[in-house]
């Protein structure tokens, strides 16, 4: 039963206040994109054993979407951050590096 800190309203809430939205930092491919790009965008998941970046919505709360960096093996939460960004904030990446040296996730590391 996870606890998450909503970066939008500051609540440190239990999982049941939130709704998981799957993999974060998806780049949308629309009309004109290649089959591979579209397939990658919609279906191919990193589904990592370890460091993961995912989307959450504070559905029973402020209703805002945000991102979380989490370990899928230990469920450790490295941090949560705004959904209005194209990549994880440096301080969160640094924190992960300190705890999981040599980590990488898609183009991030």
């Amino acid at each position: 039963m996870l606890i998450l800190d909503c970066p939008c309203c500051g609540v440190r809430g239990e999982e049941t206040e939130f709704h998981s939205g799957g993999e974060a930092h998806l780049k949308r491919f629309g009309p004109g994109s290649s089959d591979d790009d579209f397939h990658g965008y919609l279906f191919e998941k990193v589904n990592p054993k370890g460091v993961h970046f995912e989307r959450w919505r504070h559905v029973n709360g402020c209703g805002k979407w945000f991102h979380a960096a989490r370990c899928t093996m230990t469920l450790e939460v490295f941090g949560t951050y705004s959904a209005q960004t194209l990549e994880p904030p440096q301080e969160i990446k640094d924190k992960i590096t300190a705890k999981r040296p040599g980590w990488s996730w898609r183009e991030f590391s």
């Binding site: 089959d35 998941k45 589904n47 990592p48 054993k49």
Partner: protein, 414 residues
Amino acid sequence: MKRYSAFAVAREALRYHMGWERAWASPEPKKKYDVIIVGAGGHGLATAYYLGKNFGITNVAILEKGWLGGGNTGRNTTIIRSNYLQDPSAAIYEKSRSLYETLSQDLNYNVMYSPRGVIMLAQTEHEVRGYKRTAHANALQGVSTEFISPQRVKEIVPIINLDGPRYPVLGGLWQARAGTARHDAVAWGFARACSAMGMDIIQKCEVTGVSRDGGKVTGVTTNRGDIACDKLGIVVAGNSGHLADMAGFRLPIESVSLQALVSEPIKPCMDCVVMANTVHGYMSQSDKGEMVIGGGTDGFNSYTQRGSFHHIEETVRALVETFPMVARLKMLRQWGGIVDITGDRSPILSKTPVDGVFINSGWGTGGFKATPGSGWGFAELIAKGHSPLCDEFSLTRFKEGRFIDESVAAGVAH
């Protein structure tokens, strides 16, 4: 392989059971095999078994990082049914169900297949229409099901509460020849048979890499050395993405934790399986007398074999409402397993971008019932390059938009 029978048991009893031989050998890995199966769960062992039985391929190793049958094979709620809507699903699940009918005899191992029947309750008009559609489809697919009345449901399941304050039972989709089996026995029976055919089941052998020559697989590296092979079958529910990663491709799969629980054992009170999908609960009674209850999946990726408690709560809530008599039973044990969920929630039995590598994954929450059928089809795919049971479940279907979506009937859970 010494045959099992009542006479054998009696004979051994007189020798205080000192004469039983090992159910399966535990050999050292050879340098090379024709086929390596990664994952000695039910599906992996069944694949090996049918490779030998149907295609005479017995130079096979089944590699298991832990103990055989220790993954989802030994963690599920043992439900076997084939009342699926879409043709490809109905085909493989019905093949599987029919193999279960005679599996104890085929394997000379009592897997306790119990065709006690499965009811899926219809509790909304939408579910009624969905299940009637399924019944029509099943009739054309050679799957014997019928849509039954609430009164008939009550006759079959006397302990059910037909008119809960929330959702009345409007009927049900009934498959009389569906049922349950002893999950461990399925793995053990296949393992014993594979071992008897001279296949090597190598436990505590973790695959750490997949070796390739150009686009073709040449073998695997493991914590017990490198092992070469011509063909590689990956059957590692919960770790499929991980293994695919080693082989150099990505899957349309997410891994999540699925939970289940059992009550303390009580005398027989329910002789079939009931699934109530509207309220998210399903239940059967094991031969030991425990009420076996399936829970929900976590919404987030996880490789812990634990889950969040509120899914247990949601399921138990539904069952107390549907079967009021369980209220004063106690939860004996809860556990979790890691399941692979695909883009359309149907499995993947397919060739891969790597020549010689085949993947069997994505069974989501419903893999146990498919064990023999999946093994049958996947063995054919590995041996011949294609199989009618598998062709529709190819990796490429997502790119083409050729979904096999079972949730369309009535949000049917597995």
